[in-house]
Amino acid sequence: MAQLIADRRDIDFLLHEVLNVEQFSRHDRFADFNRKTVDMVVSEARNFAVKEMLPTWKEGDEQGCSFEAGKVTIPESFHRLYQLFNDGEWLSMNEDPEWGGQGMPKSVSSAASEYFNGANFPFMMYPSLTHGAGKLVEEFGTEEQKKTYLKNLYTGKWTGTMLLTEAGAGSDVGALETTARKNPDGTYSITGTKIFISGGDHELAENIVHPVLARIEGAPAGTKGISLFLVPKFRVNPDGTPGAFNDVVCTGIEHKMGIHGSSTCTLTLGGSGQCLGTLLGEENKGMKAMFVMMNEARLLVGMQGFSCATTAYMYAVNYAKERVQGASLVQPNEGGVPIIRHPDVRRQLLTMKSYVEGMRTLLYFVGYCNDMVAVAGDQAVRERYQGLIEILTPLAKGYVTDKAFEVCNHAIQVYGGYGYVEEYPVAQLMRDCRITQIYEGTNGIQAMDLLGRKLGMNKGAVVMDLIGEIKKTLRTAKEIEFLAPHTQKVGAALEKLGAVAQQLGKTAASDRVLYAFAHAYPFLEVTGDVIVAWLLLWRGTVAAQKLGSAKGKDVPFYEGILKSLEFFTTSVLPVTLGKMEAINGANGACVEISEESFNG
């Protein structure tokens, strides 16, 4: 049977041969995570994903969620799955064992996460959002709040959500209208309506904890007057059990293009004046707290999108090896051949392969940076890796999810007409994947974040650190003669990207700011391409050094790594360079065109 979801050999290559994650087990906090443990984590995550999660994915899509008589029903199979997932304690792989976590390095949990999200990302919305809510309590909660909520969230006993969006406050969170009025006992009465709330209501767990953004009466307008509150669906009794209903009412669910198994709710808080919350963090500092969650959520969304891509790629490559259709161009009389022998199918598969490998490496590398932050004894090293995480986050979300969708699109094309039919899995993957380009900050917002915030972080020091990482790989690659053409191309692309960034930065700081931001998205895209080229080169340096002594299946595997690099530097990077030219041109058509000219 062919592999599903992910290429296990590539995961092993990345974890052990590229990132050497076993190094983290030298530190006390990760001492358990030696090679054997890491391998078992990946194997068992894969085992659970394939045997339990994948079989409920299509069923979850077909059943979807329903809303009748005020009750939200999610796919039936998700209930057992959620229990099994929690039994395995997979929800809080990285967190402190004191609060129910498993203390795992993020680089390692990335592999488990890839399998879980690849198998059933709509289901994974529930535990993932729960984890995010728990993270907020851990970071900003009082001891009392931690005692009440944290272990319940990190173990999945209760689920969590994130209540930001309102009808008039989507990308512009500062426009929200939900209010909080302080009560004499220190609690707050919350009133408002939130929309697009993933996992907002269901019967998966005995309580749902909603972190809610709201404005305390009299607080300043905009984001400066936003505070964060913890609002449970059921108030918590003194003994820690769920008590009275807290006036959080689901008034409807959305009927979406994909992720049908994930309930997306409209929630009315305090419709009867009985919704109580407690302040999480400081008054009017809600956005700061929410960014902690959003940064994690953005990386998660990158993983969700990527997981659709890797799963789609595995399906496509397996299908292309089995589907016989059309004779070979060079042996026209020999009968039909598997479509993987046709050049255009190979082009698509290699496009998918190189992006999937590049994206996997990017996401795991961000996990690796988190682990370096966790173990670094030196403040400067910590700050350096923290900076790398921050500058790579808009790419890990914005670039990755866009390319992931493209990979899903290619998978449908490889399947041909069958790809467009719901009987085959790739159509659902593409539908599920689409949301990842939108939520947690649209990819346009990610592009603005990269250009407007991240490029100038620490007066450009973070960018320089990233360039330093890339140059480190270039230096290693230069020692390998065989890689010379690719090393040269990646080096040239990096140099050109630096010039583009500098010029775009200057434009953004001038009165032509709109012209600069009109090119923010293309800039995100070319930066992502150069990052992927770098990471493929990094992988190539490892593969090139191992190929000589490789045996058996390792030979074609390492050759495949090098072919991904070759394809990307020769077929993708030239296009990237052209896009850079367009950015440098900073053409103003889209700024200057009048609104009346957009349509007749």
């Binding site: 049977m1 599903l4 054997k36 391998d39 078992m40 068992e44 085992n47 394939v50 395995g88 390792d554």
Partner: protein
Amino acid sequence: MEILVCVKRVPDTAENEFVMNSAGNDIERDDLVYSVNEWDNYAVEEAIQIVEKVGGSVTVVTAADADADEILRREMAMGAENGLLLNDDAFVGSDCKGIAHILKGAVGKGNYDLILTGAQADEGSGAVGGMLAAMLDLPYASLVNRVEVGDGKLTVGREIEGGRREINEITLPCVLSIQTGINEPRYVGVRGIRKVASVEIPALGAAELGIDASCVGAKGAAVRKLDYFVPVKGAGAEMLAGSAEEIADKLVEILKTNGGIS
């Protein structure tokens, strides 16, 4: 109850695409991904469930090379307390009798009330459990799909040809070969994995087990594999035609006629 479960590391059918080796006498075993034999996993789960009910401990044992440490560790992460690796160059090439002989040595190192094996493994012989019981002079039940613990004895259900079942009483100590479907093996969670992170699994060789090396391994093997192949596709397959419902009805009828379902 002290329970010993014999397990085997086998190529993972979900992870590998099998090809014949160049000699044509086996599958190509280089680069394969391995996991625990599925039947053995049910046996370990059954043992864990018995211990959860009546107390005691579960030990998992395998006769294999050092790489098999990974499946022992995996079954310990699942809930077995102890692991035991039987590893010696002299064991290489053992036939079923040889493996049973090696396992007998491991049984002698403990004080087990119950010994479980999977009903069969990747090579489909289904022979080790019965041979081990005979060598130990213990009662044996095969294809067990239900176990209830009594006082000094077990009540075991067995799967019989044609979907029939029988119930037997068997005195302890005894050997059972476990059929899949007897239970629902639990998944291995992160806590279990962490628990075995630093566990040292003892390895015993022929000398420690008191085994005469000439009785095991290739030298001691009385059964040798001569050939291994995928049969040529023959005639005789019946293609069912009709609507999905008609095909399903015909299939049920065929299965009933041939004893696949009752």
